[in-house]
C-alpha cells in the first residue's frame, strides 16, 4: 500500500523529457537517407520524425533568438516563420500580437496557444480597453514575457488546426511549443551568457520648427508690477502662434516663480528651443546575464539556469527587471520507470512603464498632439517648486500656475508613476513507465500559477485628480494529464498510438482598490490616504474543461503516413460538449522516385474540426453594482445580455502542402495552402442600444481564411569553410467575414478615442476601419462644402488593418566560425488610423501644418465646390488644420506597409587557439534590430507602433512613443 501511495505521488510529479527518451528507444529502424533525420516536437510534447507529419510545422533554433539579443520570445518569431504575423510595438516590455493564418474569432482568442515544456502558458494581456483603443493607458505586456529566451532550445510552430488538434478547444489558432534546454546525458556543461544592448528613438512624428504656442499670430501682453511685457498664450495647447523672431522678447512660462531668480520676469527671445522633444528621450539599456549549469550523474540529469534581465526604457524613469530561475531534472529510477520535472520561477518587476495613447500621462500625446513647439526641455526639467507644487508650461494664465490641460512631462514621468510585478511558477512533473519497448504510460501535472500586482499614482498637484490605485490578480491553470502509448512495427507498417485524458482547471481572482476624491497627504500612496473612503471591488472566475483524447498514426515503409486524432471536451461554462477530430496524411514521394537530384519530397494533407469554449458565466445576464447613492444601493442591467443556449465555436481547417529538397538539400521549399472556416462564434454582438443592451452574447457568424505559406531555402555555396544560406518566408492570407447574425452588417470591435471605429464588417476582411471618406464628383475631384471644408461621405470602410501579405528574407553567410545573418521583414498592405496625425494637424504641431507659407497665406483645399467649379474658399491656417478632425477621417488613415531590416547579427566563435583551455568555447555576437524601415506611407509613424495590446484591437494609433532601434552585443562562454 505504501508503495501504491508513493506511486501515486510520483505519478503526479512528472515531465515530458522522458517521452523523448521513450521515443528514442523505439526508433530502431531509421532509414538510412542522406539527410539527418529531423525530429520535431509536436502537440502534447511528443517528438516525431518530421517526415511523418501530415501538417505544417516549422522549427526555429534557440540560437536564432538568443544571438539576436531578443528579450521577448514571442516577438522573436517575427519574419522567421512563414505564416506567423507578429506586431510588436517597441514600447519597453510591451505587448506583442501574434497571429497565425489570419483571424478566426471575432472577439475571442486569435493568438496561438503558447506551450512551454508542455505547460500551456497563460498569455494574458491586462491592458484595458482604453489602452488598447488608443485612449490612454500603460502597456503591461503579455504574460509570455516571462519566457526566458536564453533557456530556449528550440521552438516548434504548429501552424494550424490539424497540427494542434490534440490541444482541443484552444488549438484553433495553432500552437507555439517552446522546449527549454536540458542536460545531455553524459555531459557537463557550464555556460555564461552576457548581453548588453542599447535602444534609441527612431521613427517619430516630424514636428514644425517655425511657429510657437498659441492661436494668435501676435503675443498677448500683460502689465506686471507696472511694467508691460509680452507674454504667451500659456493656456493654449496648440502651436498656431507667432512665427519665431529672435528680436521678439517675451516672458516664458518659467518666468513667474521668484524661486527661480535667474528666470524671474526675465524676457527671452521667441525662438525655436535648443532642446526639443527628442532630448526628452534617453537611450534605453538592457543587460542580460545568464548562467547555466548542466550535469549528468549516471541516470540523473540536472540543469540549473538563472537569468537576470535589466531594461531601462527610452522614457526617463522607466525600467523592467526580470529574474528567471529554472531547474530541469530527469532521472531513471529503474529500468522501466523514469521521473522528470521542470520548475521555473520568474519574477518580473516593471517600474513606470510609460503611458501611451491619448491619456493624461501620455507624454507622446503632449509632444505630438497638443502642445507648444517653443518649449525648451532643459527648462522643463525644473518641474517642481520647493513647496512641491507643479511648474508646467500649460499654466491657466500668467498669474495662475494651475495646470490647465497638460502636466509638465517631467512631472508626469517622475511623479505619476506606476509599478507592477509578477511572480510566477510554472512547470511540470511526471512519471513514465515503460512496460516494454512497445507500451508505456505517462502521468503528468502541468501548473502555471502567478500573481500580478499593478499600482499607479497620480500625485497631488497634477492636472488630474490625485489618485492611488492597486490591482492584484491571481491566475492559475492546472492540467492533469494521463496517456497510454503503444508503438510497434508490423512488417512494413509502423504504428504510433496513444489515448489519454486531460483535466484543465483555470482560476482568476482580481482585487481592485482605488482612492476616491483625491489624496489628502501629498506623496503618501495608500488607500487610507483618500479624501473619501476608498473603493474596493473584486471578481473571481473559475472554468474547467475535461477531455478525453486519442491518436493513431500508421506508416507504411516510410512512404505513406496516416494519422487520426480525436478529442472530446466537456466545458463547465457551456451546456454542450464538443468532439474535435483531425485526420492528416503524407506521402513521401522521394522514396518512390529515388532520383539523384531529389533529396526529399513529400506531399501532405490535413483536416481538423476544433472548437473554442466560452468564458465563465457567459450564459447569464448578471446585474452590475454601483456604489451606494443617497444611502441606497445601485443596481443596473449589464451592458451585455447573456445567453443560456451558447454552444462552442467551431473551426474547420483544411490544408495541403508539399515539401521538397533538391541537390543534396541545397535547394528546398515547403508550401502550404489552407482553408479555414470558423462558425458559431461566441460574440457579445453589439446591438442597437435601443434593445436595452449594448451587446448580446450569441453564437453567430462565419469567418473564412484562405492562404498560402511558403518557405524556400537556398544554399548557393556550401563547403567546409564557407556557406551561404538564404531563407525566404512568405504568407498571404485572405480573411473574410462571411456573415454575422441575421442581417447585422457590422460588429464594432471598438471606437477610437475621437473618430473612427474598428469593426468586423460582413463581406470584408476583419478589422475594417470605419469612418468618413472624401466625397468625389463624377470626374474624381474631391468635393468641398460651402465652408471650404472637404465634404464627408457617410460612414464607410476605409480599409482593413490586416495586411495583404508578410514575408521574411534571411541571408546567412558563414566563414569558418564567423557568421553574418540579416533578416528583411516585409509587410504589404493593411491600414491604421492615426489620432496623432489628426490632432497634430489640428494643433499646428506637425511639420506639414507649417509648409509652403500656409500659415500666412492660408489654404485653399484642392477640390471642387458642389456646383462643380474649382474651390476658391480660403481657410486660415488654424481652420484648415481643424478640418483634420471631424470632417474626413480618410485624411488620417494610412497604409501599414513596411520593409524593415529586422535584425542583423554577426557571430564569431573564437578559435581554440585563442581561448586556451579555460573555456570550451567563446561565442561573440553583435546584433542590431529594426535598424531601418522603408516604404512607410507616413514617415513619422511606425505601422508596427500603432497598437497597444496583443488582443483583437489593433491599428488605432492614439499617441505612440517613438519606435526604436536596438543594437548590442552578446558574449557566450562555455566552460
Amino acid at each position: 500500500m505504501k508503495k501504491l501511495t508513493a506511486g501515486v505521488l510520483i505519478l503526479v510529479l512528472s515531465s515530458s523529457l522522458m517521452v523523448a527518451q521513450a521515443q528514442q528507444t523505439k526508433s530502431g529502424d531509421t532509414l538510412k537517407t542522406q539527410q539527418i533525420e529531423e525530429v520535431v516536437v509536436t502537440a502534447l510534447g511528443i517528438k516525431r520524425e518530421k517526415k511523418a507529419l501530415g501538417y505544417a510545422a516549422q522549427e526555429v533554433k534557440g540560437e536564432t533568438i538568443s544571438d539576436a539579443g531578443q528579450t521577448n520570445a514571442v516577438s522573436a518569431l517575427s519574419g522567421n516563420v512563414a505564416g506567423v504575423q507578429v506586431t510588436a510595438p517597441s514600447t519597453m516590455g510591451g505587448s506583442a500580437r501574434i497571429t497565425m493564418r489570419g483571424i478566426s474569432s471575432i472577439t475571442g482568442e486569435n493568438r496561438p496557444l503558447i506551450v512551454v515544456d508542455g505547460v500551456p502558458l497563460d498569455n494574458s494581456n491586462v491592458n484595458n480597453s482604453d489602452t488598447q483603443r488608443g485612449a490612454g493607458g500603460r502597456d503591461y505586456g503579455d504574460a509570455s514575457f516571462d519566457i526566458n529566451p536564453d533557456d530556449i532550445e528550440s521552438v516548434t510552430v504548429l501552424k494550424g488546426g490539424p497540427a494542434a488538434a490534440l490541444y482541443g478547444s484552444r488549438a484553433g489558432n495553432g500552437a507555439i511549443i517552446y522546449t527549454t534546454k536540458s542536460a545531455k546525458k553524459g555531459r557537463t556543461d557550464i555556460q555564461l551568457n552576457s548581453g548588453l544592448s542599447f535602444e534609441s528613438i527612431y521613427i517619430r512624428p516630424k514636428l514644425q520648427n517655425q511657429y510657437g504656442g498659441g492661436y494668435s499670430d501676435t503675443l498677448p501682453t500683460a502689465t506686471i508690477n507696472g511694467q508691460t511685457y509680452n507674454i504667451q498664450e500659456y493656456e493654449t495647447d496648440a502651436s498656431w502662434g507667432p512665427k519665431y523672431d529672435p528680436n521678439l522678447m517675451y516672458l516664458p512660462w518659467y518666468a513667474f516663480d521668484p524661486e527661480f531668480s535667474n528666470d524671474y520676469l526675465k524676457p527671452v527671445p521667441w525662438v525655436a528651443p535648443k532642446n526639443d522633444v527628442d532630448s526628452f528621450f534617453n537611450t534605453g539599456v538592457t543587460y542580460t546575464n545568464n548562467i547555466s549549469v548542466a550535469k549528468s550523474f549516471g541516470d540523473t540529469n540536472v540543469r540549473l539556469s538563472y537569468t537576470n534581465t535589466n531594461i531601462t526604457g527610452i522614457v526617463p524613469n522607466s525600467k523592467i527587471k526580470k529574474d528567471n530561475f529554472s531547474i530541469n531534472l530527469n532521472s531513471k529510477l529503474s529500468d522501466k520507470l523514469t521521473a522528470d520535472a521542470i520548475v521555473n520561477y520568474v519574477h518580473t518587476e516593471g517600474f513606470n512603464r510609460p503611458e501611451i495613447g491619448y491619456g493624461d500621462n501620455s507624454v507622446a500625446q503632449k509632444f505630438y498632439h497638443f502642445g507648444q513647439r517653443n518649449l525648451d526641455y532643459e527648462k522643463l526639467k525644473d518641474y517642481k517648486l520647493v513647496d512641491g507644487s507643479q511648474r508646467t508650461w500649460n499654466r491657466s494664465a500668467y498669474d495662475d500656475p494651475t495646470p490647465l490641460y497638460s502636466d509638465n512631462p517631467y512631472w508626469t514621468v517622475n511623479e505619476n508613476t506606476s509599478a507592477d510585478s509578477r511572480q510566477r511558477f510554472f512547470g511540470n512533473a511526471g512519471l513514465t513507465y515503460n512496460f516494454d519497448k512497445h507500451f508505456y504510460v505517462v502521468g503528468k501535472v502541468y501548473g502555471d500559477v502567478y500573481s500580478q500586482n499593478i499600482s499607479s499614482r497620480v500625485a497631488v498637484g497634477s492636472q488630474a485628480i490625485s489618485n492611488y490605485s492597486i490591482q492584484k490578480r491571481n491566475v492559475s491553470e492546472f492540467n492533469y494529464e494521463g496517456r497510454a502509448h503503444y508503438n510497434n512495427n508490423f512488417g512494413g507498417f509502423s504504428l504510433n498510438t496513444f489515448a489519454g485524458f486531460n483535466i484543465r482547471d483555470n482560476k482568476t481572482s482580481i482585487l481592485d482598490g482605488t482612492t476616491i476624491g483625491g489624496l489628502v497627504i501629498p506623496g503618501l500612496y495608500n488607500l487610507d490616504n483618500g479624501v473619501e473612503n476608498s473603493l474596493a471591488s473584486n471578481a473571481e472566475a473559475h472554468g474547467s474543461v475535461k477531455s478525453l483524447f486519442a491518436s493513431a498514426s500508421i506508416g507504411f515503409r516510410d512512404l505513406l503516413f496516416v494519422e487520426a486524432t480525436g478529442r472530446n471536451d466537456w466545458y463547465s461554462m457551456l451546456k454542450d460538449s464538443g468532439f474535435y477530430p483531425s485526420v492528416t496524411g503524407s506521402f513521401v514521394f522521394s522514396n518512390v522516385l529515388k532520383t539523384n537530384w531529389l533529396s526529399f519530397g513529400k506531399i501532405r494533407a490535413g483536416w481538423s474540426s476544433i472548437a473554442q469554449g466560452g468564458t465563465p458565466y457567459v450564459t447569464g445576464t448578471f446585474i452590475t453594482f454601483g456604489s451606494p447613492f443617497n444611502g441606497a444601493p445601485q443596481y443596473s442591467n449589464p451592458n451585455t445580455a447573456g445567453n443560456p443556449d451558447l454552444t462552442p465555436e467551431l473551426k474547420v481547417t483544411k490544408e495541403i502542402g508539399i515539401e521538397a529538397r533538391f541537390f543534396k538539400n541545397r535547394l528546398g521549399f515547403d508550401v502550404t495552402y489552407y482553408d479555414t472556416k470558423s462558425r458559431d462564434l461566441i460574440i457579445p454582438v453589439p446591438v442597437d442600444p435601443s434593445t436595452g443592451y449594448l451587446s448580446k452574447s450569441i453564437n453567430a457568424g462565419e469567418m473564412t481564411n484562405k492562404g498560402l505559406e511558403a518557405m524556400v531555402n537556398v544554399t548557393p555555396i556550401r563547403n567546409d569553410n564557407f556557406s551561404w544560406d538564404i531563407t525566404w518566408n512568405f504568407a498571404k492570407n485572405r480573411n473574410k467575414l462571411v456573415n454575422l447574425y441575421q442581417n447585422l452588417q457590422n460588429y464594432v470591435l471598438t471606437n477610437a478615442p475621437f473618430r473612427a471605429q474598428l469593426v468586423a464588417q460582413v463581406g470584408q476582411s476583419y478589422g475594417s476601419i470605419l469612418g468618413t471618406d472624401y466625397v468625389y464628383d463624377a470626374q474624381g475631384n474631391k468635393v468641398v462644402d460651402e465652408n471650404g471644408f472637404y465634404k464627408a461621405s457617410e460612414i464607410q470602410s476605409l480599409g482593413s488593418i490586416l495586411p495583404k501579405y508578410n514575408m521574411g528574407f534571411r541571408n546567412t553567410v558563414r566563414y569558418k566560425t564567423l557568421s553574418l545573418s540579416f533578416l528583411i521583414d516585409i509587410q504589404e498592405g493593411g491600414k491604421y488610423f492615426s489620432t496623432t496625425n489628426m490632432w497634430g494637424m489640428y494643433s499646428g504641431m506637425l511639420e506639414e501644418s507649417a509648409l509652403g507659407g500656409n500659415r500666412e497665406a492660408g489654404v485653399i483645399l484642392a477640390g471642387v465646390k458642389e456646383d462643380g467649379t474649382p474651390n476658391d474658399i480660403l481657410l486660415d491656417a488654424p481652420t484648415w488644420g481643424g478640418t483634420y478632425y471631424n470632417t474626413v477621417d480618410a485624411q488620417n488613415v494610412f497604409d501599414a506597409s513596411y520593409i524593415k531590416l529586422r535584425d542583423i547579427t554577426l557571430g564569431y566563435d573564437l578559435p581554440k587557439s585563442m581561448i586556451g583551455n579555460v573555456f570550451q568555447g567563446v561565442r561573440i555576437s553583435a546584433f542590431a534590430r529594426n535598424l531601418f524601415a522603408w516604404n512607410l506611407s507616413n514617415k513619422g509613424i511606425d505601422p508596427e507602433n500603432t497598437s497597444y495590446g496583443s488582443g483583437n484591437i489593433q491599428g488605432l494609433e492614439g499617441g505612440s512613443l517613438p519606435s526604436t532601434r536596438t543594437y548590442g552585443v552578446n558574449v557566450n562562454f562555455k566552460f
Binding site: V8, L11, Y215, S216, T218, E235, A397, Y433, V441, I465, Y480, G482, F501, I503, I516, G517, E540, S544, K546, W570, S572, M573, P616, T619, G620, I623, G626, F629, N630, P633, Y635, S636, N637, A641, V685, P686, V687, D688, P689, S690, T691, G692, Y693, K696, Q742, N743, L744, Q745, N746, V748, L770, E786, F789, K791, I795, P878, T879, G882, Y885, N886
Partner: protein, 520 residues
C-alpha cells in the same frame, strides 16, 4: 507486478477524472453577481445614471447647454458651432436606452409572478410600476425630442412598431413614428397617473425623486402637460390631454419640483462640479448675460444673474469650495462670446464668467421639472395668463434664492404677459435644463435673443484689431439652431435598414430636419 501497476494507473485515471466531475456543474455558478436585482436599487441607479449622462460635460455642456446659449466654451469651441462629437450622440442614445432597460426591469420584476411578491416589500407594486412608466416617458421624450423617430417601448401598448427593450426577440428594433411615440407617451403618463396610490410611498428607499405617490402623480401630470403642449396641433388628442392633465393635478409649488440631488462629497458629486475639478471649459454665454442684464430682450436687470454666474476674475477653486463672492454689480458680468472660432477663445476666456457656486457644488440638484415651468405652461394654456406668468417668474426666483424684495422689484418691472414674454421668461427658468429649453426654442422660436449663424457678435476684448466676429456654423447649411441630432453612428452600423427607413421617414438624417412639432 505488471498487472498491479496497470490496475494502479487505470484506477488513478478513473479517480482523477471523476473526482472533479462531482462538482463540475457547480463551477459555472457566478460568485460575483446575481441575475435578480432589487427594484429600488435599479430605480436609484437609473435616476442617477439618467442625470449623470444628460447633465454632464458631454451630453449637456458640449451639446445643448451651449446650443441654447446658456453657456459657451472657453476653448475648443467646435461644439458651440454645432460640430458636436458624434461619440457624444452615441452616448446619449446608449445611456438613455440602458436606463430605460433598468426602468423596464422594475416593471418586469413587479409583474412576473415569480418575483412580484418579493419586490412588493420595496413599495406598492402599482406605484413602482407607475414610477417606471413615468420615468420611461421622461427618457423617451428626451430621445424623441433629440432625434425624431426612435425605437420605442410601451408598457401599456403592444403596438407592433414598438420593438425596443426586447433583446430576446428583437436585436434590430424598428423605429416608431413620432406620431405614435408622442401619442403613447401621453397615454402612458395618463395611465400611470391613474394607477398611483397617492397615500403611499413609491419605493421604501432609493427614491430621491418623489418620496410620495402624490408627488409622483403631480410630476406625471405636469410632464403630460409639457408633452401635450409640445405636440398640440401635431398629435391628435394632445389638446384634450392638456385639460385632462391640469384637472388631474399638476405641481402646486416649488415643493413639488422634481430633481436629483447629488451627495455633498466626492463619491457621488454632481456631474458638472466633478468636471470642473479638473477642467474649466465652460462659461455663461454672453447672449444669456445680455438678456439677464437687460441689454437684450424686454426685461430689466434680472437678479438671477448673480445667482447663476460668478463675477469675472473669480478663481475657480473658490467657486468649487463655496467661498466665491456673490456680486450684484452687473459690470462684473460679460459672459463668454458665443460661437467664436477656437483661435479667438484664448483672448476672450479670462473676461468671461463661470457658473456660480450655486451650480458648481457637489450636492447640486439637477431638475427634471419644476413648478415654475408648469406655471408658464398654464400661462400658455390659459391664453398667456398674467397670473401664471408672474407665478412662474416668482417661483423660479425663489428657487434660486433671490431675496423677496428683489423679486418684488423685478416683478413690478415686468412687461405684461405675452407669448414672447412668457416664453422668454420660461427660457430663463429652464436655465441648466437645456434639453427642454432647446425643444421650446424649436417649437416656439423663443427666445429671440440668441445669436444665429451669420449674425455678428461682439467680443469682450478686441483681438487682432477686431471687436466683432461673425458666428459661423461649422456644419454647412445651418442658418438657425440645429433642429435635431444625427442618429448615432452605432445605430447606422448596427441597425442599418431601420435607420435608413427612419431617416427617410423623418425627411433625412440631418441636423436641420424638423421634427413634427417644430412648425414655427
Amino acid at each position: 507486478m505488471k498487472m498491479k501497476k496497470i490496475v494502479l494507473i487505470l484506477s488513478i485515471v478513473g479517480v482523477t477524472f471523476n473526482s472533479c466531475s462531482d462538482k463540475f456543474d457547480e463551477i459555472d455558478i457566478n460568485p460575483n453577481s446575481t441575475e435578480q436585482a432589487l427594484t429600488y436599487g435599479l430605480f436609484n441607479n437609473a435616476n442617477k445614471e439618467l442625470m449623470d449622462n444628460t447633465r454632464d460635460q458631454w451630453q449637456s455642456a458640449r451639446i445643448t447647454l451651449p446650443w441654447v446659449q446658456y453657456s459657451a466654451q472657453r476653448a475648443y469651441t467646435e461644439e458651440d458651432r454645432y460640430q458636436y462629437r458624434l461619440s457624444t450622440g452615441v452616448s446619449l442614445w446608449s445611456f438613455s436606452y440602458r436606463v430605460a432597460q433598468d426602468y423596464k426591469n422594475i416593471i418586469d420584476l413587479n409583474t412576473d409572478p415569480a418575483t412580484s411578491t418579493k419586490m412588493a416589500v420595496y413599495g406598492p407594486t402599482e406605484n413602482q410600476i407607475a414610477a417606471s412608466r413615468v420615468m420611461l416617458s421622461y427618457v423617451f421624450l428626451t430621445l424623441a425630442d433629440s432625434f425624431g423617430d426612435i425605437p420605442y417601448y410601451s408598457y401599456g401598448n403592444k403596438d407592433a412598431d414598438f420593438q425596443a427593450l426586447n433583446v430576446d426577440a428583437q436585436l434590430q428594433p424598428k423605429f416608431a413614428s413620432q406620431q405614435k411615440v408622442y401619442a403613447d407617451i401621453l397615454k402612458e403618463l395618463k395611465e400611470a397617473s391613474e394607477m398611483i396610490d397617492e397615500n403611499e410611498v413609491v419605493f421604501t428607499q432609493g427614491d430621491v425623486l418623489f418620496g410620495s405617490g402624490e408627488k409622483l402623480k403631480r410630476f406625471a401630470n405636469s410632464l403630460r402637460l409639457r408633452v401635450a403642449t409640445r405636440v398640440k396641433g401635431s398629435v391628435q388628442g394632445a389638446e384634450a390631454h392638456i385639460q385632462d392633465a391640469i384637472s388631474s393635478g399638476v405641481m402646486q409649488s416649488n415643493d413639488d419640483n422634481v430633481g436629483l440631488s447629488y451627495e455633498n462629497n466626492l463619491v457621488n458629486p454632481s456631474p458638472l462640479f466633478n468636471d470642473f475639478r479638473t477642467r474649466s471649459d465652460f462659461a455663461i454665454s454672453k447672449t444669456f448675460v445680455d438678456l439677464l442684464k437687460g441689454n437684450s430682450g424686454n426685461f430689466d436687470l434680472d437678479p438671477r444673474l448673480f445667482k447663476f454666474a460668478t463675477p469675472r476674475g473669480t478663481a475657480k477653486a473658490s467657486i468649487l469650495d463655496g467661498s466665491a463672492p456673490e456680486s450684484t454689480n452687473p459690470a462684473d458680468f460679460s459672459g463668454m462670446p458665443y460661437g467664436i472660432p477656437s483661435s479667438l477663445a484664448p483672448s476672450q476666456a479670462s473676461s468671461s464668467n463661470f457658473f456660480s457656486k450655486n451650480i458648481l457644488k457637489p450636492d447640486y440638484t439637477e431638475i427634471l421639472m419644476e413648478y415654475s415651468e408648469v406655471q408658464f405652461l398654464l400661462a400658455e394654456a390659459n391664453g398667456w395668463s398674467q397670473t401664471n406668468y408672474v407665478n412662474g417668474v416668482r417661483a423660479s426666483m425663489q428657487r434660486w434664492g433671490v431675496a423677496t424684495a428683489n423679486i418684488d422689484t423685478y416683478i413690478a418691472s415686468l412687461p405684461a404677459a405675452s407669448k414672447e414674454n412668457v416664453l422668454t421668461q420660461k427660457y430663463i427658468t429652464l436655465f441648466m435644463q437645456p434639453y427642454e429649453a432647446w425643444a421650446e426654442y424649436r417649437r416656439t422660436g423663443y427666445p429671440n435673443t440668441l445669436l444665429l449663424p451669420g449674425q455678428t457678435g461682439t467680443l469682450n476684448v478686441a483681438a487682432g484689431g477686431e471687436t466683432t466676429y461673425i458666428f459661423t456654423s461649422l456644419i454647412a447649411g445651418l442658418t438657425d439652431l440645429p433642429t435635431r441630432l444625427f442618429y448615432p453612428t452605432s445605430v447606422q452600423t448596427l441597425n442599418t435598414a431601420n435607420y435608413q427607413a427612419a431617416s427617410a421617414a423623418i425627411g433625412g438624417d440631418k441636423m436641420n430636419t424638423k421634427l413634427i412639432w417644430d412648425t414655427n
